[in-house]
């Protein structure tokens, strides 16, 4: 009985997510390395720390050096908070109210145009690319398969 009990137990401990403190440490390590790399880029071509961290974490996951269970609990929690984390960057505008007073309507109009343009242009460009993939290279465009 005892040995039978032990087998599934070791299996479940392997599947278990890493402790949150370990997951935080992985994020901190990735951010630390990224913050060392970021200043190496010239000011004319800035690569912010989160861009590098995003790429590093993706390749760590893709190469199975870091497994999903090592990072996903903390990562999903951070993503669930993301709208709240944007609040200070929105309120930051309080320091630039004079710009908004001078050009507010123009800025909001440009944002409205930009949003619609990005949506439509990206969607049509992609439709073209998918058409080329299907009709020129004869590759499957079925996402599900």
């Amino acid at each position: 009985m005892a040995s039978q009990d032990k087998v599934p137990q070791t299996e479940t401990t392997e599947e278990k997510p890493s402790p949150i403190i370990v997951q935080m440490a992985i994020f901190a390590a990735v951010l630390f390395v990224s913050s060392l790399i970021s200043p190496l880029f010239p000011p004319s071509f800035p690569v912010p720390t989160p861009v590098i961290g995003l790429i590093i974490l993706y390749f760590l996951l893709a190469s199975h050096i870091v497994k999903l269970r090592n990072v996903e609990k903390f990562g999903d929690f951070m993503i669930s908070l993301i709208a709240f984390l944007f609040v200070p960057s929105g309120i930051q505008l309080a320091a630039s109210l004079d710009i908004l007073k001078a050009q507010g309507i123009q800025i909001v109009s440009v944002v409205l145009i930009a949003t619609i343009v990005m949506l439509v242009v990206v969607a049509y460009t992609t439709a073209g690319m998918i058409w080329i993939r299907k009709h020129v290279f004869h590759r499957s465009v079925d996402v599900k398969s």
Binding site: T49, I56, F84, L85, S89, A94, Q106, V117, V122, V143
Partner: protein, 268 residues
């Protein structure tokens, strides 16, 4: 000190509140962060509540309400303390706001996780996705630049408008590096989401974007950030996967495309 001399009639409670908020001392100590953190949580939760009570009215998006209400409260408090909104923001709100803002770093790199979960799609379509986003963004940038010039924005305003497709934590440093105002860019990113939430479904129908589900997904993720992928889920799971991929990839594409574009257009 500025506050006390500006409003001497409120010296007593002004000094007490000023100490608590950290507006009395230059080089604010750590305890003052409490106000910024509390205000951020308060306005965001009010936004969530309004969104629920208002049955999802588009202007009641929690983040948008949080931004407007937070600025309004700071504006009123600055009036009470007899200082400018910008000054009051810097001394009272920013220490706490910066702490919350810092957590955008781990939250942004956490987007690698949903991207990796859809790795099968990424591997099969990476060429189409990256090419579409690069070409789509370059074409969009010309439109955005043209619209901004026509409406008479100055170079700072234009440079603030260009990186808005990226997620806020990435768009802001790029805006600053190309001579823009990071706060304006952050507002643009928030407005993108408000606009896509309000008009996304209608725009998809009007321009018949859903004829190509992959395109509709990438477009919604690019234009509306994470709200775009929530909107894409209403169209279907392919659209949602593509939108979540686009939110991440477009941020990297913005980093590669926008600084050279700004230099090419002679900004900064």
């Amino acid at each position: 000190m500025i506050i006390l001399t500006a409003a001497p009639h409120m010296a007593v409670w002004g000094k007490w509140l000023g100490d608590a908020l950290g507006t009395n001392a230059a080089g604010a100590p750590a305890g003052n962060a409490v106000f910024g953190i509390f205000l951020s949580l308060l306005v965001y939760l009010i936004g969530q509540w309004l969104f629920k009570v208002g049955k999802g009215f588009f202007l009641f998006q929690p983040l948008f309400v949080g931004m407007v209400l937070g600025i309004f409260i700071l504006f009123l408090m600055a009036k009470v303390f007899g200082t400018t909104t910008a000054e009051f923001y810097k001394s009272a709100y920013k220490p706490g706001g910066d702490i919350i803002f810092w957590f955008l770093n781990p939250a942004t790199i956490a987007f690698a996780i949903p991207l990796y979960r859809r790795n099968d799609i990424v591997k099969r379509f990476w060429l189409e996705i990256t090419l579409s986003l690069i070409i789509g963004l370059v074409v969009s940038l010309f439109f955005i630049y043209g619209a901004a010039r026509l409406l008479g924005l100055n170079d700072i305003g234009i440079a603030s408008m260009l990186p808005q497709a990226a997620t806020t934590a990435i768009a802001m440093p790029i805006a600053a590096a190309t001579g823009g105002n990071a706060a304006i860019t952050a507002m643009a990113c928030i407005l993108n989401a408000v606009i896509i939430y309000a008009l996304g479904g209608w725009l998809v129908k009007f321009f018949r974007l859903n004829n190509d589900p992959i395109g509709a997904g990438l477009g919604l993720g690019t234009a509306g950030h994470t709200v775009g992928s929530a909107k894409a889920l209403q169209l279907g799971s392919i659209q949602e996967s593509m939108a979540s991929i686009a939110v991440v990839i477009i941020s990297i594409v913005v980093d590669i495309v926008v600084p050279p574009f700004a230099a090419f257009m002679g900004l900064k």
